[in-house]
């Protein structure tokens, strides 16, 4: 694990009208690391992801890319930096085949004509290196199972050679077997040296693949935990706020006053 994070968020704040959605959020992702971003509904996970993906820029704070501050104000700039986002509602076209979906928006063109052969070759190569198994790269994605569709969506994000991949609830609504497929794929992304931000509600998934867990609660950091040395109860209490009560707040205040 290298020392400099590929992506670091420093003091990110965002408000929608009267609602302060994010307050001074910090997050670091290093190459070859899976960071799970967890939190209860409304904790600000999606908003945070949107600031990284350039969909909804932050009001305040700095995004550092490989150590230098950058502005990510459009999805395009995020993609150019090397941040790929796989959204929860799979962004696939049901009527196009797997190759068509993988290369949608970045088709390989030879002499003004789609180079289907090259696209098919690259698609098969990519799916093979990720050990993704689908019946054929030439069937419409509508024919695929939910897990297969999710793996195709993730594979699609890798075509732009990103350094950080954000997965928004990749295992929601998937069966046991299919979830395992997706988690396998997440591990393969890590082996390739990518930084992965995994948003999930499923503690089992998080503990299975994540290296660190960053907890958001009410728009603030509520602790970052090493998965190997932390029990599930500690993480859950951080999510639900069981550690954030009158007693702990008083402790923190007195500690501050003593300084």
């Amino acid at each position: 694990m290298s020392a400099t994070p590929v992506l670091a968020l420093r003091g990110i704040s965002k408000r929608f009208g009267a609602v302060q959605v994010l307050t001074d959020v910090e997050l670091e992702i290093r190459p070859g690391e899976v960071v799970a971003l967890v939190g209860d509904n409304g904790a600000g996970k999606s908003t945070l992801v949107k600031t990284i993906a350039g969909v909804g820029p932050a009001d305040d704070g700095v995004i550092e890319w490989e150590g230098r501050p950058v502005t990510v104000d459009r999805p395009h700039t995020a993609q150019e930096l090397g941040i790929a986002t796989v959204y929860q509602d799979l962004a696939l076209c049901d009527n196009l085949d797997v190759v068509g979906n993988l290369f949608l928006g970045r088709e390989i063109v030879r002499a003004g004509v789609l180079d289907e052969v090259e696209m098919e070759r690259r698609a098969r190569e990519l799916l093979a290196t990720l050990s993704i198994r689908i019946p054929s790269v030439r069937i419409p994605v509508a024919s695929l199972s939910g897990g297969q569709r999710q793996t195709v969506a993730i594979a699609r994000s890798l075509l732009g050679e990103p350094k950080v991949v954000i997965l928004d609830e990749p295992t929601a609504a998937l069966g046991v077997e299919q979830t395992a497929q997706v988690l396998d794929l997440v591990e393969r992304l890590r082996e390739r040296g990518l930084g992965v931000i995994l948003i999930s509600h499923n503690m089992a998934d998080v503990r299975a693949v994540a290296d660190r867990v960053a907890v958001l609660r009410l728009g603030r950091n509520n602790g970052t935990f090493e998965v190997r040395t932390t029990s599930q109860e500690e993480i859950i209490s951080a999510i639900t706020g069981a550690t954030d009560n009158a007693v702990t707040r008083r402790k923190a205040r007195t500690a501050l006053e003593e300084k």
Binding site: A91, N95, D97, G105, V109, G112, L114, R121, R133, A142
Partner: protein, 433 residues
């Protein structure tokens, strides 16, 4: 360039199994028993065909069968139906509506509808007549102006739909009324403008390449191009290790294309020769088929028909594609209008009126383009318009009133939509929606 004529049994599917490839990167796969396998040889094709039939991937097959049945019925009642004269005239009269239907195919793939094409075709004919006959502008320039006005009108519809957010149905319904009004205005008090009966527009439907070699040459060219492109494609695929068609299949497909091509060429030569209208219509169908299936523009059109949000996130300029598709529909409507004007050699107050709009939309749907968006081919315009025109021409031969003709065309259209809906449902239940 694999331009499947609708007459081949294959529905243009090139999905082959991963498993029939033993070289390249995929060799690392262990074969999953659930993979789609295609066995070698003819038995393999038959099995693949049966599997597709069961899972509802019918494509154009029902209507090809339907067209054959219609032809046989009329042929049994009146031997002139399949005669050279009738078939040649059938192609020439079908060209106008067919060209309009090609534009409709694009709009339907987006999952939208264009109700204005009839009025736009009439307006384009009126514009041509006024500019050319009344103002003495040369025919070619008048043609450009007429087609250009179709494109601008279409783009205007597209703008209101894509940018302002008015449903396409309403925008083009307004167009249906508005452009018809403008056409009447443009034609003026006279109501009918006769065109030069030896001019460019007249020759669109009355010019025939009388040299018998013309038809055969075109058929040869088409088949040779099809074979060469398929062969080159297969060789490249083999070289990089992705599934390719075996040579036997390429030859089989080429023969399947050659047979109808030469039969039609022979039929045309039995009458006046190869009609210019048929050449232009086929040329447009082939060219736009290539645009749709072989360019990134066509891929984007399909993507929009599948999932607009996914297309937007993939960086596709959704508004631009939508506007361009409506502009194309307007242009094709104008081009079709030229052929319809050519048939009567005039632009008059009933240009683009009557059942033209419904026939154009029906042709696209009957030919197998889905009303639900995301699926379709330009070839379906050809197939559909041949079905509709066959019914009209057969009924006329038998002296049956147009009342019956409308009812039968309506029944065929309903059958086509039922087949589309049922096949979608079957595809869903077999997990291939």
């Amino acid at each position: 360039m694999s331009t499947d004529l609708p007459t081949t049994t294959d529905t243009g599917d090139n999905s082959q199994a991963l498993a029939d490839d033993t070289s390249g990167a995929a060799a690392a796969f262990t074969v999953d028993p659930r993979l789609l396998l295609q066995e070698e040889g003819l038995a393999g094709y038959w099995n693949t065909f049966r599997r597709k039939l069961r899972s509802g991937e019918l494509g154009s097959l029902p209507m090809v069968v339907g067209l054959i049945i219609i032809a046989l019925i009329f042929q049994l009642r009146d031997a002139a139906f399949l005669g050279p004269e009738n078939l040649s005239n059938l192609f020439v009269t079908a060209a106008g509506t067919g060209l309009i239907a090609v534009g409709i195919v694009f709009v339907l793939i987006l999952g939208e509808i264009d109700l204005s094409v009839g009025s736009v075709s009439g307006l384009a004919a009126a514009v041509f007549a006024v500019v050319n006959v009344n103002h003495g502008v040369p025919e070619w320039l008048a043609l450009v102006i007429a087609l250009g006005s179709g494109a601008v009108i279409g783009a205007l519809h597209g703008f209101f739909f894509a940018r302002v957010g008015v449903p396409a149905f309403v925008v083009t319904l307004a167009g249906l009324l508005g452009w018809n009004g403008l056409m009447l205005q443009v034609l003026g008090s006279n109501g009918t403008i006769n065109l030069d009966d030896t001019g460019l527009i007249a020759s669109l439907t009355n010019h025939y390449f009388t040299d018998i070699s013309a038809g055969y040459a075109l058929a040869t060219l088409g088949v040779a191009a099809f074979f060469l492109f398929s062969f080159r494609d297969a060789r490249r695929r083999k070289a990089v290790g992705v599934p390719s068609r075996p040579l036997s299949e390429i030859v089989l497909r080429s023969v399947a294309l050659a047979v109808p091509a030469y039969v039609v060429a022979w039929l045309f030569n039995q009458y006046k020769g190869l009609p210019l209208a048929a050449v232009i219509f086929l040329g447009v169908v082939v060219a736009l088929d290539l645009v749709l299936r072989r360019t990134s523009y066509g891929r984007k059109v399909f993507a929009l028909g599948g999932n607009v949000e996914a297309a937007r996130r993939a960086g596709i300029n959704v508004s631009l594609i939508r506007i361009s598709v409506f502009a194309l529909s307007g242009t094709m409507a104008a081009l079709g209008g030229m052929f319809l004007a050519s048939q009567i050699n005039a632009a008059n107050q009933s240009s683009g009126a009557g059942s033209l709009l419904m026939n154009a939309i029906a042709a696209a749907v009957i030919g197998g383009t889905s009303l639900f968006g995301g699926r379709g081919k330009t070839w379906s315009a050809l197939l559909g318009v041949l079905v509709i025109q066959s019914i009209a021409s057969g009924m006329a031969l038998l002296g049956i009133a147009s009342a019956i003709q409308y009812m039968i065309t309506g029944a065929v259209l309903l059958a086509a939509v039922v087949i589309d809906s049922v096949s979608r449902r079957v595809q869903r239940t077999t997990g291939r929606a």
